[in-house]
C-alpha cells in the first residue's frame, strides 16, 4: 500500500492518471479485432493466391464465361424450357426450379403429416398416442439418405414395368417409370369455367367479410365454410356442366417404351418427396406436440369454464398461442427440408445440386465458381427464411410488462 491510501482526511482530489495504453480495455479490444481481421484477410489471401496460382499454372479455365455456353446435356425434368442446346445458365435455373418444386411439395406434405402426428401424440387414445410416438422415434433416428434409398431402391424398384402397369382410378397409371396422371386439356369455353372459379373465390371473400361484419354488429354467425365451399366448387361446376363439359383429358398411353401423354411424375421425385416429407414430418410432429403442450393447461380450462366448446377453445385460445411457439422452429424445419432436398443427387432427381453442382461442375470443371454459386443460392434461401422469421417473431411476440 502506498502512503496516499493512508492519508488522513479528504485531501485535494487528483484526477487519476490515465492508464497506459496497454491496460485500457478499448485498446486491447481494438488490437484483438485488428489481429482477427489481419488473420482473416491473410487467410483468404493465401487461399485466393493458391487457387489462382493452381489454376493459372495448370491452365485451368476460370471465371463465369461458361454461364452462356451451350450445356450439351439433357435434364429429365424441367419446369422451364430446356434441352441440350440450352446454356449452363438455363441449366442453373432448371435445377433451381426443380429444387423449389420439391421443397414446396415437401413442405405441404410434411406439414400436413407432421400436424396430424403431432396432435395424435397428444391424443387421449393411448394406442394412437403410442403409434404416433413410434412413428416419430423410428423416422427421426434413421439417416435421411437411408430413407431415400429405401423408398427409391427398395420400394419403388418393386413396381411393375410399363407393360404391366398398375391401373389406378381416373385414368392414372403407376409403374417403375413413375406415376402418370391424366393431363387436363382445356377446350373452347373452358375460360368461362375459370372465370366462374375466380368469381367464386372473390364472392367467398366477400361473404367472409360480410359475415364478419354481421357478427361484429349483431353477434349472429353465418356458415361461412359451407357457403365458401359451395361458391368455389358449385359455381364453376355449374358453368362447366352448362357449357357441355369443355375440358378434355389427355390420358397416358403406352407407346413404345414408355407411357406418353398425361402428366408424368418421376419415381425420383416421388421417392424424394415421400422421403423428405415423412422424415421432416417426424420433426414437425415433435414441434407441434411441444407447441400445443406448451400452452398451459389453465388456458384450456379457463376457456372451457367460460363455456367455449372444445372446437372453439382450440381455435380461439390454444392454436393462436401454440402457433407462436410452433412457427419459428417450423420455419427452420422448412429450411432444413430445402437443404435436405440436395440429397436428390443420390437418387437421380435433377435438383439444383444434382444439375448444377453435379453435372455443370463436372462438364465445366470449374469447381470454385460452381460451388461458390451453389452456396450463394442456399444462403439466399436461408436469408429470406430468417428475414421472414424475424418479421414474424416481431409481430407475434407477446406483450410483456
Amino acid at each position: 500500500m502506498t502512503a496516499t491510501t493512508n492519508r488522513q482526511g479528504p485531501g485535494p482530489l487528483v484526477p487519476p492518471a490515465k492508464p497506459s495504453l496497454l491496460y485500457r480495455p478499448e485498446f486491447r479490444q481494438a488490437v484483438y479485432q485488428i489481429l482477427l481481421v489481419v488473420g482473416l484477410v491473410a487467410g483468404f489471401w493465401a487461399i485466393a493466391h493458391n487457387v489462382s496460382e493452381n489454376l493459372a499454372r495448370q491452365n485451368i479455365a476460370s471465371g463465369f464465361g461458361f454461364w452462356n455456353r451451350t450445356s450439351g446435356f439433357d435434364i429429365s425434368q424441367s419446369l422451364i424450357t430446356y434441352n441440350n442446346q440450352s446454356t449452363y445458365g438455363q441449366a442453373f435455373w432448371a435445377g433451381l426450379f426443380n429444387t423449389l418444386l420439391v421443397a414446396a411439395l415437401g413442405v405441404v406434405f410434411a406439414t400436413l403429416l407432421g400436424f396430424i402426428i403431432g396432435i395424435g401424440r397428444l391424443s387421449s387414445n393411448w394406442l394412437i398416442a403410442r403409434l404416433c410416438g413410434a412413428y416419430v422415434e423410428t423416422l427421426r433416428n434413421l439417416p435421411l439418405l437411408l430413407q431415400l434409398f429405401f423408398w427409391y431402391f427398395a420400394v419403388l424398384k418393386n413396381l411393375p414395368g410399363p407393360r404391366q402397369s398398375i391401373v389406378l382410378p381416373a385414368g392414372a397409371t403407376l409403374n417403375v417409370r413413375g406415376l402418370y396422371i391424366p393431363a387436363p386439356v382445356p377446350e373452347q369455353g373452358f375460360n368461362a369455367v375459370l372465370i366462374a372459379f375466380a368469381m367464386g373465390i372473390v364472392a367467398s371473400i366477400g361473404v367472409y367479410m360480410w359475415a364478419r361484419r354481421r357478427q361484429l354488429a349483431t353477434g349472429e354467425r353465418f356458415p361461412v365454410l359451407w357457403t365458401t365451399l359451395a361458391l368455389i366448387l358449385l359455381l364453376p361446376g355449374a358453368v362447366y356442366i352448362a357449357l357441355g363439359q369443355p375440358l378434355g383429358w389427355e390420358y397416358p398411353v403406352l407407346r413404345g417404351f414408355n407411357f406418353q401423354g398425361g402428366i408424368p411424375i418421376q419415381p425420383e421425385l416421388m421417392a424424394l418427396v415421400v422421403g423428405l416429407s415423412t422424415y421432416t414430418a417426424s420433426f414437425i410432429a415433435e414441434i407441434v406436440r411441444a407447441g400445443i403442450a406448451g400452452v398451459p393447461r389453465g388456458q384450456r380450462e379457463a376457456a372451457n369454464a367460460l363455456g367455449l366448446s372444445s372446437g372453439l377453445t382450440m381455435r380461439l385460445v390454444v392454436i393462436p398461442q401454440a402457433l407462436r411457439i410452433i412457427i419459428p422452429p417450423l420455419t427452420s424445419q422448412y429450411l432444413n427440408l430445402a437443404k435436405n432436398s440436395s440429397l436428390a443427387v443420390a437418387i437421380g432427381y435433377p435438383d439444383f445440386v444434382s444439375v448444377f453442382t453435379g453435372t455443370v461442375l463436372n462438364q465445366t470443371g470449374q469447381a470454385v465458381e460452381v460451388i461458390l454459386l451453389t452456396m450463394l443460392v442456399f444462403l439466399t434461401i436461408s436469408l429470406i427464411t430468417s428475414a421472414f422469421m424475424n418479421w414474424f417473431n416481431k409481430h407475434i411476440a407477446l406483450v410483456e410488462r
Binding site: Q215, L216, A217, T218, G219, E220, R221, P296, G298, Q299, E301, A302, A303, N304, A305, L306, G307, L308, S309, L312, L316, V317, P320, Q321, R324, L398, V399, E400, R401
Partner: protein
Amino acid sequence: MADTSRQQARRAHGASGGILLNGVHKWYGEFHVLKDINLTVKEGERIVICGPSGSGKSTLIRCINRLEEHQQGQIIVDGIELTNDLRNIDKIRAEVGMVFQSFNLFPHLTILDNLCLAPIWVKKMSRAEAEKTARMYLERVKIPEQALKYPGQLSGGQQQRVAIARALCMNPNIMLFDEPTSALDPEMIKEVLDVMIELANSGMTMMCVTHEMAFARSVADRVIFMDRGEIVEMAPPDEFFSNPKSDRTKHFLSQILNH
C-alpha cells in the same frame, strides 16, 4: 331445454338456481379424492371452503363445472344435472363463472378481447354489445383504463380482477373461486378481495376456496372445512370460527390463524 322444463327440473331436484351434490365420489386412479360429498347450495348463498392442501377442495369446485369428472353420485347445477352430455356441460359452463388461482387470462388477446371472447362466441352477442358489457365490468372491478393492454402488462392483482370481470361478462348465476388470492403479493390481495366482497354483497351465488379467513368471516353464509377428501365440518362462520366441533378443524384453524 326449454325454460319450463328447466323449472320442472329445478323443482324436482329441489335446487333452484343453486348447486346440489349428492353422494359424490371421485378417484384419481386408485386415489380416493372426494368421498361421499353431500352439499346443497341455495341460490344467493355464499360458501367458503377451506382445508389443508390436498384435501380435495379444489377438485370439488372443479367438479362443479366439469373441469374434473366425478365417478359416482349426482351433481346438479342450476337445475341441470352434469352428465357426459356435452350440451349440458356447455350450458352449465355458460351459467357458472370461474376464477382460477393463476388467473389464466389469454396472453395473446387484449384485456377487452379477453372479456369479449366468450360473450361473442358463446352468447353470440354483437361486438358492440359485448364491448359495452366488458367495459361495464371493467369499471366495476375498477380498471377501465387497462382495456386495450395485454395481460402481460398488468400486475397480478389487476389480472385477477380482469379474470373476475371476464367471468362476470357471461352473466353467470354462480361464481366459483379457486384460491383466487394465493398467487398474489399481500398488497394486491386486498384489491381482489374488495371486488369479491362487492360481488358477494350483490347477491351472487358463490363458492370460494380460500384461506382468507377474514373474508370468510365477513361474507360467507357457511364455511366448509374439508380434509382428506371429505367434508369434516360445515357451519355458519361465527359458529365455525368460535366453536369448531372437530379436532381436525381446531388443529387447522390454530395453524392458519396463528401463523
